[in-house]
């Protein structure tokens, strides 16, 4: 099959002709060689058509040889391993590689939607905005159509089976780009002992030296690269990262690198990590990413077979492939003359069309001496051939962009190598905060002053000659070393046989040959089908700012992010507006430089490692008991304990009744627990909590709330005074960490004079709540040193004691309204205690219950849950907690309770609700209405915050926040249900059960 590689040259290139590799493209079996990219292998096989354009579905071929490739965006691999939107120019060939085009239906060659191209006038700038906006209700249909026909690849539907990881690193000098400048910087920094990381997005270092036939220090460029990288690889202080892309330059010299570890290997040989994200903090950065060659803008410049000149050189010199047999080179500068020589040396016919009347400098002489025809002062005006170039039209030109050009010559060809000049890759410099400056001589944006600790070097610093690049890299390396306070080892810049020159003259677009429609085929951004006509139209419709024109025309969107077309686009925009290019400015460069996978972003933070799951010390017993669990923040808590075939409602009804009738038990270990002590602890807590702390006696408990400074209820819990200057505080499950941080922030920033120590005990102690009329009997059965009778151990008190042989802190508090105890026990003994209680409780029908029953029991009592029955607007006054607000002291948030908004009429206040039909459980979140027949939009007077069926009461109950609710007891309002109906509900007290509180004080 190798003989099918019709464009493969007999010799040359960095490929291994002894290692053929089989691969497939759109199902067709092809062969390339080790060292090929997918793009070079496709070109070797004469594959010209690789995709269809985004909007017009025009046939497209490979244009470039690197990250800037806009057309060859392919789907690689299959199944869970597949990756969409990869640039064929950056995909290393491996045995068994499967590649597919993602556009074109039913097939790439016969694409029905290509009819769009015939009506391209309908698809101008702003097409999507104008066409798909009406009627509004049709958007869902339009969206499906746009997605299907735009089709930029398919994400795998299976879970990603691969491993990704993140790694942090520090270095003295990070070198981004391993071309001539980067290699020199890394060499001098490495030899001088600096910790160096050198990154390149290709499998080999060398950059342009792999694509050109330069000679350095009397050896070939490739040999020089080999020598330098070999030396660097022996240095312990240098880390080489090939196949890696610096995709983001963030604050304070923090850079992100995506390393592709195994994608270049056949599927069966892939092991370990697929991609690695390096998070690097570098003292100094050398930016040497090189430059992008710009296309020229002429009619049908997007036809397959039109490529950049440097890409043609790369395919010839690096891969031993010449993608054509009759080549036209079209340029406005000297650099493409190198490509003409490369083509001629491959024994292929070449003609040079040079837009400059004066032609090229020294390289021109060499080319002429080789009898290569050169047409100076000529331009290519049009391309003939739809699925592949077959001819170009060439005209004489004097440099006037307004002049109508007559076609004069046709030249048959199957490859057009164009060069519209070079643009430094200033992306990372821009991301670092640096500005770009227009160089009117080189006609490009160059990096301006560095804002962070970095140095641009080589082609990305606007250096076009190899000798300059090497010197500039050396300079950047030396400056970086100096800033790191490291002594540089002396090193000389290598000697280069210099021929190339630049001498660019502006040719931002070729004058349209026949009519206005012509410029709609003068493409600027290939991937988005943005043409000269689109930019002109945007300007006609009033767009002037480059950022707006970008969004209106889609210029610079897409996977290549305008690497190829942006500067041409800005130049055309400047021309339309009659302004200079620097006055137009550039669009913003943002990470990522090239697309990165979700996998490398997620790293190991997937599945169970996405977020830690916290389990109580008793968790395993709950699992054995068959509990259903629910996540509460990071905690996994028992939700209910179903017996046999019980569902949630049946289990909760049973648990509620058993607790109120006899005794229930709950794992309350997730409550936040804070130990607070110190000489000033009373003074401190007085400021944090709203009630009078100083009046609490040792051994007693109190319900406490804390407010934000805005007066909004922040958290609540029971606190116990364990000693004169020693308190034990509980918080809500979700508020534990915040409350501790909140308290510490006041202690450190506002009241550093207070001598108080706060310690989190949340995980150290487990809490078991035993609730119900028989709770005392259960504790007595397992044996308690403390006298449990009411007078000896009153409601809201605490004792250190021995229970069932274990030391515990025993609280008599109740969140159910029943006689209840909470056992605080060292987490190491918690499971044993739970088991002991289960055994002892058999005769009392001791029933374990979960969070759902806890919610029902507390709602029956009208106890609120902070964050469920309250939100960021609810004050304690709204909850009728005025009794908790001390009048004798200041506390956080107190002043805010007097703010006009907090005392106005009509605030939403906590009430109870009863469905008038006595059976509807109103969904939580339901909006409440005064008058459902009012004209729409119907004003709402509140919403339901908690709602359950109370098995103990035999009817549904709900808590709600209702405007002015405290004064509206007995009124009927309406609950607006999802089906559009509204049912009457009565406003009642939020305490539905045992309003006097006799049971908990029994």
């Amino acid at each position: 099959m190798a003989r099918l590689q019709i464009n493969r040259l007999e010799e040359g290139g960095c490929i291994d002709r002894s290692k053929p590799l089989n691969f497939s493209f759109n199902g067709k079996r092809l062969q390339g060689f080790a060292g090929d990219t997918l793009a070079s292998a496709l070109l070797a096989n004469g594959v010209k058509l690789v995709s269809r354009s985004f909007k017009l579905h025009r046939p497209r071929g490979i244009v470039a040889a690197g990250a800037e490739e806009p057309n060859a965006i392919l789907q690689i691999g299959r199944g869970a391993e597949t990756l969409p939107n990869l640039r064929a120019t950056q995909v290393e060939l491996y045995e068994g590689l499967e590649a597919r085009s993602t556009k074109g239906w039913p097939s790439l060659r016969f694409d029905i939607a290509a009819i769009n191209d015939r009506f391209s006038g309908l698809f101008g700038a702003g097409f999507y905005y104008k066409t798909f906006m009406w009627p509004k209700s049709f958007w869902k249909h339009y969206e499906a159509f746009i997605r299907a026909s735009a089709g930029l690849g398919n994400a795998p539907t299976e879970a990603d089976p691969d491993h990704y990881e993140h790694r942090n690193a520090h270095c003295d000098v990070l070198v981004a780009g391993g071309g001539p400048a980067g290699l020199m910087a890394a060499l001098v920094a490495g030899r001088s002992g600096a910790r160096v990381i050198m990154v390149d997005d290709q499998d080999q270092f060398g950059g342009r030296l792999l694509s050109q036939r330069d000679r350095i220090d009397d050896m070939s460029g490739k040999d020089w690269v080999q020598k330098v990288t070999t030396e660097l690889s022996t240095l312990d202080n240098v880390r080489l990262l090939p196949r890696s892309t610096v995709f983001g330059y963030y604050d304070h010299n923090f850079l992100a690198i995506a390393e592709r570890c195994s994608d270049h290997l056949p599927q069966v040989e892939r092991k370990g990590v697929r991609e690695r994200l390096w998070r690097v903090r570098a003292k100094q950065v050398v930016l040497a990413q090189g430059a992008f060659e710009r296309p020229l803008v002429f009619c049908n410049n997007d036809r397959p077979g039109v490529m950049t000149a440097s890409a043609v050189s790369t395919y010839i010199n690096r891969y031993g492939v010449c993608p054509g047999q009759r080549v036209v080179v079209f340029t406005n500068n000297d650099s493409a003359y190198t490509a003409a020589l490369d083509i001629a040396d491959a024994n292929i016919n070449v003609v040079v069309i040079d837009s400059r009347v004066g032609g090229a400098g020294s390289l021109g002489k060499v080319v002429r001496a080789r009898d290569i025809p050169v047409l100076q002062g000529h331009i290519v005006t049009d391309v003939v051939g739809r699925k592949h170039i077959s001819r170009v039209r060439v005209a004489k030109w004097s440099g006037d962009t307004e002049a109508v050009v007559e076609n004069s010559i046709n030249i048959d060809c199957d490859l057009l190598a164009m060069s519209g000049g070079w643009s430094p890759a200033v992306h990372l410099h821009s991301q670092s905060g640096g500005k770009n400056l227009w160089n009117a001589q080189s006609l490009c944006f160059e990096p301006g002053e560095s804002i962070q600790a970095n140095f641009s070097a080589g082609a990305s610093n606007g250096r076009w000659q190899l000798s300059d690049c090497l010197r500039d890299g050396l300079r950047a390396g030396l400056e970086a070393l100096k800033r790191c306070n490291l002594t540089a080892t002396s090193i000389d810049a290598p000697v280069v046989e210099q021929l190339d020159d630049y001498n660019i003259e502006a040719l931002w677009r070729v004058p349209a040959a026949y009519d206005a429609d012509h410029c709609s085929k003068q493409f600027i951004d290939y991937q988005n089908d943005t043409s000269v006509a689109d930019i002109r139209q945007a300007v006609r419709e009033g767009y002037q700012n480059v950022e707006h024109v970008k969004r209106y025309t889609a210029l610079g969107f897409g996977t290549d992010q305008g690497k190829l077309g942006n500067i041409n686009g800005m130049a055309v925009l400047a021309e339309c507006l009659g302004e200079d290019i620097p006055a137009i400015g550039t669009t913003t460069f943002r990470p990522a430089y090239t697309p990165v996978t979700f996998g490398v972003g997620a790293g190991k933070n997937v599945g169970l490692l996405f977020d830690p799951t916290r389990k109580s010390a008793i968790h395993d017993l709950h699992v054995s008991a068959g509990a259903a669990f629910e996540p509460v923040g990071q905690w996994l808590r028992p939700w209910y304990f179903p017996k046999a075939n019980e569902d949630l409602h049946a289990a909760v009804a049973r648990e509620c009744i058993a607790t109120r009738k006899s005794v229930g038990m709950m794992d309350a270990s997730t409550l936040g627990k804070i130990d607070a002590r110190g000489p000033d602890v009373v003074k401190f807590l007085e400021r944090i909590y709203t009630h009078n702390i100083g009046k609490m006696r040792v051994g007693r408990c109190a319900y406490g709330i804390m407010l934000g400074e805005d007066g909004v209820l922040m958290d609540d819990g029971v606190m116990a005074r364990l000693g004169e200057n020693h308190f034990y505080l509980t918080t809500t499950t979700g508020g534990a960490a915040n409350v501790l941080s909140w308290m510490e922030s006041w202690l450190q920033t506002e009241w550093p004079e207070l001598d108080v120590y706060l310690t989190s005990l949340t995980d150290h102690f487990s809490t078991i709540a035993v609730a119900g009329p028989n709770s005392r009997n259960v504790l007595q059965k397992i044996g308690c040193d403390a006298e449990l009778a009411h007078d000896a151990f009153p409601f809201m008190s605490v004792q250190d004691t021995i229970l069932g042989g274990f030391p515990v802190q025993l609280f008599r508090v109740s969140f159910s309204g029943e006689l209840a105890f909470e056992i605080n026990i060292d987490s190491a003994y918690a499971a044993d205690m739970w088991q002991m209680l289960v055994t002892a409780g058999t005769e009392f029908d001791l029933t374990p219950y979960g969070t759902e029953t806890m919610h029902v029991l507390r709602a029956e009592k009208g106890f609120v849950i902070v964050g469920q029955d309250t939100d960021g607007s609810v004050t304690p006054v709204d909850l009728r907690m005025n009794w908790l607000l001390s009048k004798d002291k200041d506390f956080l948030g107190k002043r805010s309770l007097e703010r006009p908004d907090c005392i106005r009429e009509g605030r939403k206040q906590l009430v109870g609700l009863l469905s008038e039909d006595n059976e509807t459980v109103i969904p939580e979140g339901t909006q409440l209405l005064d008058d459902p027949s009012a004209s729409k939009p119907v004003p709402m007077c509140g919403h339901v915050t908690s709602s359950y069926f109370s098995a103990c009461l035999g009817h549904p109950i709900a808590l709600a926040l209702v405007s002015g609710g405290h004064k509206r007891k007995g009124e009927i309002i309406y609950a607006s249900l999802a089906d559009g109906s509204a049912i009457p509900v009565k406003i009642v007290s939020p305490v539905f059960y045992d309003a006097k509180g006799d049971r908990q004080s029994a």
Binding site: D251, R281, E709, P752, K894, R895
Partner: protein, 88 residues
Amino acid sequence: MLLIRCPWCGDRAESEFSCGGEAGISRPLEPNALNNADWSDYLFNRTNTRGAHKELWNHAAGCRRWFEAERDTVSYVIKRTYKLGQAN
């Protein structure tokens, strides 16, 4: 990802810290003596400085200490950090 120098622990990544906003906002000693406008000013209004800005930071995933930083809100350059009460 800013690089922040905790006065106790040294240079650490921003992900270890939480920002507490503008520094130097003292809680009024007698809140009840303030009229609504002055209390609201303390509660809600901040200078929203463009340029040099003193702000509070907490080494939340480290030593848990609060400290102050002088940070430029345009360039994000942190000129210095210091322990509370040691501004000078």
